[in-house]
Symmetry: D4
Subunit: 255 residues, 8 copies
Amino acid sequence: MPDNRVLYEILQQVRDGALDPAAAEQLIGSLPVGTIANLDIGRTDRCGIPEVILAEGKDIDSLVKIMHSYACATGRAIASRILPEQVQAILATLPQGIIADYREIGHILILSDGTMPEPSGGTVAIVTAGTSDIRVAEEARIIAEEMGAAVLTAYDVGVAGIHRLFPALERLKTADIYVVCAGREGTLPSVVAGLVNKPVIGVPVSTGYGYMGQGEAALAAMLQSCAAVTVVNIDAGFTAGIVAARTVALIGRNS
Amino acid sequence: MPDNRVLYEILQQVRDGALDPAAAEQLIGSLPVGTIANLDIGRTDRCGIPEVILAEGKDIDSLVKIMHSYACATGRAIASRILPEQVQAILATLPQGIIADYREIGHILILSDGTMPEPSGGTVAIVTAGTSDIRVAEEARIIAEEMGAAVLTAYDVGVAGIHRLFPALERLKTADIYVVCAGREGTLPSVVAGLVNKPVIGVPVSTGYGYMGQGEAALAAMLQSCAAVTVVNIDAGFTAGIVAARTVALIGRNS
Amino acid sequence: MPDNRVLYEILQQVRDGALDPAAAEQLIGSLPVGTIANLDIGRTDRCGIPEVILAEGKDIDSLVKIMHSYACATGRAIASRILPEQVQAILATLPQGIIADYREIGHILILSDGTMPEPSGGTVAIVTAGTSDIRVAEEARIIAEEMGAAVLTAYDVGVAGIHRLFPALERLKTADIYVVCAGREGTLPSVVAGLVNKPVIGVPVSTGYGYMGQGEAALAAMLQSCAAVTVVNIDAGFTAGIVAARTVALIGRNS
Amino acid sequence: MPDNRVLYEILQQVRDGALDPAAAEQLIGSLPVGTIANLDIGRTDRCGIPEVILAEGKDIDSLVKIMHSYACATGRAIASRILPEQVQAILATLPQGIIADYREIGHILILSDGTMPEPSGGTVAIVTAGTSDIRVAEEARIIAEEMGAAVLTAYDVGVAGIHRLFPALERLKTADIYVVCAGREGTLPSVVAGLVNKPVIGVPVSTGYGYMGQGEAALAAMLQSCAAVTVVNIDAGFTAGIVAARTVALIGRNS
Amino acid sequence: MPDNRVLYEILQQVRDGALDPAAAEQLIGSLPVGTIANLDIGRTDRCGIPEVILAEGKDIDSLVKIMHSYACATGRAIASRILPEQVQAILATLPQGIIADYREIGHILILSDGTMPEPSGGTVAIVTAGTSDIRVAEEARIIAEEMGAAVLTAYDVGVAGIHRLFPALERLKTADIYVVCAGREGTLPSVVAGLVNKPVIGVPVSTGYGYMGQGEAALAAMLQSCAAVTVVNIDAGFTAGIVAARTVALIGRNS
Amino acid sequence: MPDNRVLYEILQQVRDGALDPAAAEQLIGSLPVGTIANLDIGRTDRCGIPEVILAEGKDIDSLVKIMHSYACATGRAIASRILPEQVQAILATLPQGIIADYREIGHILILSDGTMPEPSGGTVAIVTAGTSDIRVAEEARIIAEEMGAAVLTAYDVGVAGIHRLFPALERLKTADIYVVCAGREGTLPSVVAGLVNKPVIGVPVSTGYGYMGQGEAALAAMLQSCAAVTVVNIDAGFTAGIVAARTVALIGRNS
Amino acid sequence: MPDNRVLYEILQQVRDGALDPAAAEQLIGSLPVGTIANLDIGRTDRCGIPEVILAEGKDIDSLVKIMHSYACATGRAIASRILPEQVQAILATLPQGIIADYREIGHILILSDGTMPEPSGGTVAIVTAGTSDIRVAEEARIIAEEMGAAVLTAYDVGVAGIHRLFPALERLKTADIYVVCAGREGTLPSVVAGLVNKPVIGVPVSTGYGYMGQGEAALAAMLQSCAAVTVVNIDAGFTAGIVAARTVALIGRNS
Amino acid sequence: MPDNRVLYEILQQVRDGALDPAAAEQLIGSLPVGTIANLDIGRTDRCGIPEVILAEGKDIDSLVKIMHSYACATGRAIASRILPEQVQAILATLPQGIIADYREIGHILILSDGTMPEPSGGTVAIVTAGTSDIRVAEEARIIAEEMGAAVLTAYDVGVAGIHRLFPALERLKTADIYVVCAGREGTLPSVVAGLVNKPVIGVPVSTGYGYMGQGEAALAAMLQSCAAVTVVNIDAGFTAGIVAARTVALIGRNS
C-alpha cells in the first residue's frame, strides 16, 4: 500500500538524517488521519466502495465538475438519482478517454475509463415485490455489479401472487445474499428470510399511498419482522447494493 | 316494536280528539329521535350489539353500578378489558338471578340472566399469528359468540412457520369471515386474504418492541396491504368480533 | 377445477407407469404452491378478485403491456388511479376484441372482452359525507360491481347536515353492507354504524387541511370509533369495494 | 387601581420637588411592565382568572408553600390535577382563616377565605360523551363556577346512543356556551356544534386505546371538524372552563 | 318557523280526519330529523352560519353549480380557499340578480342577492403576528362580518417587536373576543390572552419551515399555552371567524 | 431429507398400486406446503436459526411449556428478553437431560441437551458505543455463538472518545462482519462502516432521553447514514446476531 | 439613546410644571413598552440584529414595500430565502442611494446605504459536511458578517471522508465558535464538538431522502448528541449566524 | 503537551538509531488517533468538559466502578440523572481522599479530590419559566460551575406573569449568555432573546400534558422561534450548561 510507504519513507528519511524530527512530526500531522493511525485500515481501498455521488439536489455545474474530476482521477465515477438534464450536462463535456454509461431505470450514470470491475467471487440475488420497485432494485444491482458481484434478479414476484415466488427462489438458489425490495406493506423480505438460510436485506420502497404510504409502513414492517432481516433506508437500493457486494466479497476473500 | 306503537297511539289519540295537536307536537318532540324520524331504523335492537362496557379506566363503583343495572334491565351486560379487582367487586354484590361468566384470557366479564344468545347462522374464523395475540383474539371470539355466531379458532399459526398456516386454513374452510390477529409486522391478515375468498378483518396487536412496536407497524402494514383486508384499532378484538358477527348474521337473515 | 386435474393426472400417470416417481416429484415441485398444497384453497378463482393494476407510479409502457396482457389472457383488466395520459396510451393500441370503459370520476379503466360480471346476490350501499369523497366512493362502487355486487349509493349526506342522512339510510335499507367514505373528521361511518345493524366499512378520504388533514384525522377517528366499524387505508375505495363485494357474496353462496 | 396610584404618586412627587426626575425614571423602570405601559390593560384583575396551580409534577413542599401563600395573599388559591397526598399535606398545615374545598373527581383543591365568587351573568353548559370524561368536565365546571359562571351539566350523552343527546340539549338550551368533553373519536363537539348556534369548545379526553388512543384522535377530529368548534389541549378541562367563563362574562358586562 | 307548521299541519289533518294515522306516521318519518325531534333546535337558522363551500379540491363544474344554487336559493353563498380559475368560472355564468364579491387576500368569494348581514351587536378583534398571517386573518374577518359582527383588525404586531403589540391592544380594547393568528412558534395568542380578560381564539398559521414548520409548532404551542386560549385547525381562519361571530352574538341576544 | 422421502414414498406407493391416486392427492394436500412445493427450500434446517422464544409479554405457564417442549423435541430452546421470575419457573421444572444456561446481562436463557453448536467458519465482531448498549450486544453475541459463529467483542468504544475506537478496530480486524450497537445519536455504525470494508449491521439502542430518545434518533441516523450500513429494529440484538451468523456461515459454506 | 430622553424630558416637564402629572401618566402609558419599563434593555440596538425579512411565502408587492422601507429608514434591509423573481422586483424599483447585494447561493438579498458592518471582534467558523449544505452555510455566513463577525469556512469536509476534516479544523483553529451544517445523519457537529473546546452550533440540513430524510434525522441526532452541541431549526443557517455573531461579540465587548 | 512529546521522542529515537523505522511505524500506529494526526487538537484538555456519566439506565455495580475509577484517576467524576439508590451505593464505598457532593434537585453527584474548578472568566444566567423547570436548570448550573463559570439564576419568571421577567433580566444584565428553561409552550427563551443581545440557549422541559406535552411542544416552539435561539434536547440542562460554560470561557481566554 502506498500510504504505508509514505510513512515508512518519512521514518527512513529521519533515520538517514535527511529529515528533522520536528519537520517529520509536522509532516505526519498533515497526512490523512486514516493513513497513519490505523495502518491496515487506512489503505486506499479502505472501504472498497466506488465513489458515488448523490446527484439529487446538486446544482448542475457542481455535479459536472465533481463527476469529471472523480472520473479522471480514479477512472470511475457513479452518480445516483440523476436527472436527465444532469446527465445531458455531464455528457456534453465528457473528458477524453472517459466512457459514460447511463442506466435510465436505476437513474444512475457511470463514468469510467473503460476498465471493468474485478469479480469478487459471490452472487447477490435482487428480488422485487412489484414492478414499481424495479427502479430501486436496479440501483442495488448496478452498484453491486460495479463492486464485482455477480447478480441474479427476480422482479415482480410479490406475495400478492405468492405462487410466483417459489420458482423464483428456486432459480436464485445459488445466491449468497438476497436484496429484497418491496413497497406498500413490505412483506416480501420477511417471507424470503423465512425460506432461505442466507442473509436478507430488506429495502422499503416508496410505493403506496395514504397512511404511511411513502415506504414508512414497509420500513416499519421490515424492522418488526419476526424473520431475520436487516433493513436500509426507504428507496436506498444503493446502500443495499454496497452491503450485499461487501458481503459476497467475503467469500472470494476467504476461498 | 313498541316505539312504533307509541307514535301510532299518539296519532290515534289526536284523531280521536283525545289529544290536542299542539300537545301531540310537544309529546312527539320529547321522544328519542331514532324512535320517530326513522321508524325502521330506530328499533330496540337497532344495532344487534349487546351493551359492552369498556372497564379500563372506569372507577370500580361506577363500573359495578353500570354492570348491575344493565344486567338487570336487559338480562345481559358485558365488560371488556376488565381488571381482576373490578371483577371481584362486581361479583361481590351480584344481583339475584344474575349469572357471572369471567373469561380471564380475554379480560371479559359477562353478566346474564342465564339465557343464551340465539344462533345467527354463520361461522367466524379467528386466527392468531402468535400466542401473545390470543388475549385479543379471545375478546373477538367471546363477543362474536355473544352475538350468536359460531366461531372456529386457529391460534399461533403465523407466517414465521408458514407451514402451520395451510392445514389451519383447511380446517377453517367452512368459515364465512376471518378475523386475523397479528402483532410485530402484521403480515398474517394479508397472507390469509390472499388465500381465501371471504372477507378478512385484520386486528393489529400491541406485541413487539422498538420502532412502532406497540402495534403501529402491524396497523400500518395491514392498511397498506395489497390484499383486501379491513382493519380495526390496535388490540380491538372486541370491534372485530362485532363486525364479524354482524357479517355472518347476513347469511342467517338472507337464507 | 383444472388445477386438481393436473395433479390428479400426474398421479394417474405414475400409477399407469407412464411417469417415473422421481420425475413426478420434480413435476409436482414445479407447480404453483397453492395448486397443490391446499387443494380447495388454491383454485383459479382463489380470491374472486379481478386483477386490478395500481396505475399510479407505473410508467406508461409497462402499464399498457400489463393491461393488454391481462385483458387478453383473462378477458378482464382493471386499472385504478389511472391518469388521462395513461388511458390514452392504452386506448391507442387496444387489442382486437377488447372493450375499454373509462370511469373518469373514479380514475378507473376497465378493459374487457364484453362479458359482464355474474351477479353475486347481495347489495352494497356506498355513502359519502361530501362531494369531495365521491372519487373514492366511485372506486369502491366500480370494483364492487365488477365483482357482481348490486350497489346503491347516497353521496353528500354528511353529518354537517345530518338531516340529509336519515332519508338516505331509509332509501339504502335493503343493503347488506355499508361502505362509508368521509374526510376531515371522518364521523359519518360511526354515525351510520350506530344506526344500522349491518357491517360498516369506513373509508377515510384525504380531504381536509392543516393538522392531520390528508385523511389522517379521519383514519384515527374511525379506528377509535365507539361504533363497530372496520377501516381501510386513506382513499382506498378500491379495497373497500372488494371486501364489500366479498361480503355480500356470502349471501348468494349461502342462499 | 393601586397600580395607577403608584405611578401617579411618583409623578406628583416629581412635581412637588420631592423626587428627582432621574430617580423617578429609575423608579418607573423598576415597576412591573403591565403597570405602566398599558394602564387600562395592566389592572389587577387583568385577566379575571383566579390563580390556579398545576399540582402535577410539583414536589409537595413547594406546592404547600405556594398554595398557602396565594390563599393568604389573595383570599383564593386553586390547585388542579392534585394528588391525594398533596391534598393531605396542604390540609395538614392550613393557615388560619383559610377554608379548603377538595373536589375529588375533578382532582381540584380550592383554598379560600370563605368569600364566594361574584356571579358574572351567563350560563355555561358542560357536556360529556361518556362517564370517563367526567373528571375532565368537572375541572371545567369548577373553574367556571369559581369565575362566577352559572353551570349546567349533561354527562354521558355521547353519540353511541345519540337519542340521549337530544333531550339533554333541550335541557341545556338556556346556555350561552357549550364545553363538550369527549375521548375516543371525539365526535360529540361536532354534533353539538351542528345543533346549537352558540359557541362550542371541544375538550379531547385521553380515554381510548391503541392508535392515537390517548386523546390524539379526538383532538385531530375536533380540529378537522366541519362544524364550528374551538379546541383546547387533551384533558384541558381547566382551560376550557376559563374561556367559557370569560365568554359568558361578556353578557353580564354588556347587559 | 315553517318546519313546526309542517308537523302541526299534519297533526291537524289527522285530527280533522283528512289524514289517516298510519299515513301520518309515514309522513312524519320522512321529514328531516331535526324538524321533528327537537323543535326548538331544528329551526332554519339552526346554527346561524351562512353556507360556506370549501372550494379547495372541488372540480370547477361542481363548484359553479353548488355556488349558483345556494346563491339563488338562499340569497347568499360563500366559497373559501377559492382559486382564481374557480372564481372566473363562477363569474362567467353568474345568475341574474346575484352579486359577486371576491376577496382576493382571503381567497373568498361571496355571492349574494345584495342584502347585507344584520349586525349582531358585538365586536371581534382580529390580530396577526406577521404579514404572512393576513390571508388567514382575512378569512376570519370576512366570515365574521358576514355573520353580522363588527370587526377591528391589528395586523403584523407579533412578539418579535412586542412594543408594536401594546398600542394595538389599546386600540382594540372595545373588542369582545380576540382572534389571534400566528405561525412559526405561535406565541402571540398566549401573550394576548395574558393581557386581556376576554376570550381569545388562537389560529396557527402554516408559515415557517423545517421541523413542524407547516403550523404544527404553532398549533402545539397554542394547545400547551399556560394562558387561556382555545385553538382551531392550522389556517382555519374561517372556523375562528364563525366561532367569534357566534360569541359576540351572545351580547346582542342578551342585551 | 426426510421430507423428500415422504413425497417420494407416496409416489412409489401409487406406482405400486398400494395407494389410490385420489387418496394420494388427499395425502399430498395435507402435507406442510414447504415440504412439497419447494423441495430444496423446505428442508429441516431451512433457515439455520435455532428456535428462539420472545419471553417478554408471555405468561409464565405458556412459556415454561413452550421452552420445555422445544428443548426436549429439538435438543435446544432459547428464550430472549426473559425476566428472572420466568427463568425461575423454567428452572424449577427442568426436564431430565436438559441443561439450562442463563445469560443475565443479555436476558437470555438457553436450554439444551448438552450438545454444542457446530462452528460455522467465520468471525463476527460486536461493538458497542457505551456500557448501556452491552445488554443488546450480548443478545447478538449469544445467538451468533449459538449459530456457530466465532465472536469478538469491543464494548464502550463510542465516538465521544473516538481514540478508543481505533485500537479496538485493530484488534477486531480478522472479523468478517461488524455488529455495532449504539444509542443516543447512533453515530458509531457509520464511523465503523467508513473504516472497514466488511458488512456492518447497525443496532439502535434505546438509551437516551428527550426527543426521539428511545432509540428513534439512533435508528434514523443509521438509516440516513452516508456510509453503507444495514439496520435492525431498536434493541434487536437478537436479529443482528442471526443475520451476522448467517453471513459468516457463507464463508464456511464456500471455503 | 433617544428613548431615555423622551421619558426624562416628560419627567422634567412635570417637575417644571409644564406638564400635569395626569397628562404625564397618559403620555407615559402611550410609549412603547420596552422604552419605559426596562430602560437599559429597550435601547434601539436592543438585540443587535439587523432587520431580516423571510421572503419565502410573501407576495412580491408586500416584500418590495417592506424591503425598501427598511432600507431607507435604517440604511439596511436583508431578505432571506428570496426567490429570483422577488429579487428582480426589488431591484426594479430600488430607491436612490440604496445599494443591492444579491448572494445567490445563500438566497439572500442585502439592501444598504453603502455603510459596512462594524467589526465585532471575534471569529466564526462555518463548516459543512457536503456540498448540498453550502446554501444553508452561506445564509449563516452572510448574516454573521453583516453583524460584524469575521468568518472562516470549510465546506464539504464531512465524516464520510473524515480525513478531510482534520486539516480543515487545523485551518479553522483560531475560530471562537463553530457553526456546523450537515444533512442525512447529521454526525458532523458531534464530531467537531468532540475535537474542539469552543461552542458548536449544529444546523440540520434538509438533504437526504426516505425516512426522516428532510433533515429530521439530522435534527434528532444533533439533539441526542453525546457531545455538547446546541441546535437550530432545519435549514436555519440564518439563526445560527445570528447566535454565532452574538457570541463572538462577547469577546470584543469584554476585551 | 505530553502527547506531542511522545511522538517527538519516537522520532528522536529513530533519528538516534535507537528505534527501527518499522518498529516506529508500528508504535505510531498504536497511538490514539487524535494524538498524532491533529497535534494541536488532540491535547489532553481537548474539550474542557469534566467527565460526566449519565447514571440513568446504568446498573449500580457498573456505575459505582466507573465513578470511583474516574474520580481516582482524574480527581473528578460527575454523575447526572442519578437515583438515590445509586448515590447510596457510590457513597457506601467511597475511595479514600474522594469527597462526594450530592445535589438532590439537579439529580447530580460530584466526586472530587477537593480541588475547585478554576474560574473561566464569564457569567452564565440561568432562567426558568416555572418551578417545575428548576431541576433541569440546576443541572445546567452545576455543570457550568464545575467548568468554572460564574452563574446567576432567576427561577419562575415565566411569561404567564411577564411582569416578573423584567426585573429579573435587569438583575441578570451582567450575564454573557442566557440558558432559559421552559416547558409547556416554551415561550420564554424567545422572549428573552428578543430583549437581550447576548446568546440565548433554550432548554425545553418535559413539563406539560396532553398533545406534545412531554416537552415536544416547547422544543418545536424554540426551534421555530423568530428570535435567535439555539436549542438543546428536552431536559438537557447538562448540555446547555456545558455549552454556556464553553461560551463564557471565550471571554477569559480572549481578555
